[in-house]
């Protein structure tokens, strides 16, 4: 199953209103769950793709694979971009620099933004640390935080997607 087919399947499932679809073929088993609403109003799509038997050849295009600098394990088709493709009206906030991503100014404070928060242009959404210097990253547009794409205290690279924002 290639990335395009998976994307079509997700779109189909989202449209159909079904909450869970499981598909198994000779090589793959794919589970798509779409709870329509989470408690903070965020629509979410969870995908688990488990290769059965022979592992598939990496299908994801090259720009996706190198993004996993973080040691977190990555399924052959990376999870983060897929919902982004499906929800193309959202804007991605991308990292302007290389460093370590933090959601808080310091361990004691609160996170800068949560999922569901409204942000205005210029709002500090996170801090990226490089060479002992902490750089505040500001939003370049306003909207609502739909998803946080990177875990706290994770290394990020240039252009790496950090947040999904609904600009409407």
């Amino acid at each position: 199953m290639d990335l395009e087919e998976i994307q079509s399947l997700i779109k189909f499932v989202a449209k159909s209103g079904a909450t869970e679809v499981e598909l198994e073929t000779g090589d793959f088993k794919i589970t798509i769950k779409t709870p329509n609403k989470k408690k903070n109003g965020e629509p979410d799509t969870i995908i688990q793709q488990v290769p059965v038997g022979i592992p598939p050849l990496p299908v994801a295009p090259a720009p996706v694979a190198p993004a996993s600098v973080a040691p977190a394990s990555v399924a052959p088709a990376s999870v983060a971009p897929a919902p982004a493709e499906a929800d193309s009206k959202y804007i991605t906030v991308k990292s302007p620099m290389i460093g370590t991503f933090y959601r808080k100014a310091n361990p004691e404070s609160d996170v800068f933004v949560n999922v569901g928060d409204d942000i205005a242009e210029g709002k500090v959404v996170c801090v990226i640390e490089a060479m002992k210097l902490f750089n505040e990253i500001e939003a370049e547009f306003s909207g609502k935080i739909v998803k946080v794409l990177v875990d706290d205290a994770t290394p990020v690279e240039y252009d790496q997607p950090l947040f999904l924002v609904d600009p409407s």
């Binding site: 090259a62 720009p63 190198p66 993004a67 600098v69 620099m97 290389i98 460093g99 370590t100 490089a130 060479m131 290394p155 990020v156 690279e157 240039y158 252009d159 790496q160």
Partner: protein, 454 residues
């Protein structure tokens, strides 16, 4: 005898791109060292990114915002916990500032120390150092040119024709040949302007212009214990606008006696500056087989490959070992075979070698006995317009020069690269050229070479 402490690196970040990044990754893999590739957004599909253990995108396409941006490179090394950085050639490989910053961050720079780079980077002071060490240099006048009047006095002593050169220069910029006083006055002005623009420093010095020299360089290696050796020569006289096109070893102009004299001079040069790592001492050789120090490159070079093939030696591995504090592998090396390298560029030889970036639609590399290809391209790869035009190095190695040329002809005939223009047809014509085949060429060769229509 005290045991020398040695730490082989666990992870090396390669601060470069293209074929040399891949070259370094390959040797690291063989040595069991983990690799980190850095890349700009334009290089996301590049082979060096795919072959490395980890990869970090460090910026947009322009080199100033990516490969040349020290902060970004160091950040990438930090988040990946790299303990050494290999700078390749070009980019930051001869940046004293970068070497120093690596030092300050506890990352081993696999290259020269900041002091060494500064010493050899300043051409006028490099020359003074060499003279003091007893290495023959191009006859010239010591010190910088103060003004036009001073220049004319210098030229009277050095005798025309003279070459005025930028002290902070390189890559053929800020250099002018002058044939008389009037010529000198005009050229001095324009050269200083060019030097100021290119290097931020318009200091100029003067040398005798060696007419129709050969460019013959000696590969050297030095360790931190004061040992140094040489690995014989490479002839790089086939140049266009000071850019090398073809390199070979041994030089068709070399004799065992000259090799001994030049090799000894190169080792003297290395020891005089306590050189650590691999490097190259470049000489100009005139028709009388008198040789003169030109400059010293404190990095691995594009043409290191041909030396590797004729002595069966991995220079990148040696470079990494030297950086880790291991002794040089030992004695001087003499070429046992003959090797030629043709640099394949994405350029159109029929239109003044203008660059031809774009997508490679079809790619088939030659193979077989005595063929080596160092490249980062493949079918479907798009050459970005932001970097230099070299896409592949085709190397042949054989028992004799004639066989190496024949192999090169055969290999060039097999080499298919479609979708862009390349310099393969130029190399095919060059291999057929009678003067080239006789080994009768100097750095002036390309001035007179005419491309036949194809």
């Amino acid at each position: 005898m005290a045991k020398k402490k040695v730490t082989i690196f666990k992870k090396i970040l390669i601060a470069n791109r293209g074929e040399i990044a891949l070259r370094i990754i390959r040797t690291c893999k063989e040595m069991g060292i983990k690799t980190v590739a850095i890349y700009s957004t334009a290089d996301a599909e590049s082979l060096h990114v795919r072959f490395a253990d980890e990869a970090v995108c460090i910026g947009p396409a322009p080199s100033n915002d990516s490969y040349l941006d020290i902060a970004r490179v160091i950040s990438a090394a930090e988040i990946t916990n790299s303990d050494a950085i290999h700078p390749g050639y070009g980019f930051l490989s001869e940046s004293a500032k970068f070497s120093k910053i690596c030092e300050e961050h506890g990352i081993k720079f696999i290259g020269a120390s900041p002091e060494m780079i500064d010493g050899m980077g300043d051409k006028a002071s490099a020359k003074a150092t060499m003279l003091a060490a007893g290495v023959p240099c191009v006859p010239g006048f010591e010190g910088l040119i103060e003004n036009a009047g001073h220049a004319i006095k210098m030229a009277a002593e050095v005798k025309y024709p003279v070459m005025i050169k930028a002290t902070a220069g390189g890559g053929g910029k800020g250099m002018r040949i002058c044939w008389d006083d009037e010529n000198l006055k005009v050229n001095l002005k324009s050269a200083m302007q060019e030097a100021k623009a290119a290097f931020g420093n318009d200091g100029m010095y003067m040398e005798k212009f060696i007419q129709e020299p050969r460019h013959i360089e000696i590969q050297i290696a030095g360790d931190k214990y004061g040992n140094a050796c040489h690995m014989s020569e490479r002839d790089c006289s086939i140049q266009r606008r000071h850019q090398k096109l073809v390199e070979e070893t041994p030089s068709p102009f070399m004799t065992p006696k000259l090799r001994k004299r030049m090799g000894d001079a190169a080792v003297k040069a290395a020891k005089a500056v306590k050189y650590e790592g691999v490097g190259t001492v470049e000489f100009l050789v005139d028709k009388n087989r008198d040789f003169y120090f030109m400059e010293m490159n404190t990095r691995i070079q594009v043409e290191h490959t041909i030396t590797e093939e004729v002595i069966n030696f991995d220079l990148v591995k040696e470079q990494i070992k030297l950086a880790a504090g291991i002794e040089i592998t030992g004695q001087g090396y003499e070429p046992k075979l003959h090797a030629i390298q043709c640099r394949i560029n994405a350029e159109d030889p029929q239109h003044d070698f203008r660059p031809s970036p774009g997508k490679i639609t079809n790619y088939h590399a030659p193979g077989g006995h005595g063929i080596r290809i160092d490249t980062h391209v493949y079918a479907g790869y798009t050459i970005p317009p932001n970097y230099d035009s070299m896409i592949s190095k085709l190397i042949t190695v054989a028992q004799t020069r004639e066989e190496a040329i024949t192999k090169m002809e055969r290999a060039l005939d097999e080499y298919i690269i479609e979708g862009i223009k390349t310099t393969i047809p130029f190399h095919q014509q060059l291999m057929q050229d009678s003067k080239f085949r006789e080994g009768d060429f100097t750095t002036k060769f390309m001035d007179d070479f005419e491309i036949k229509k194809y």
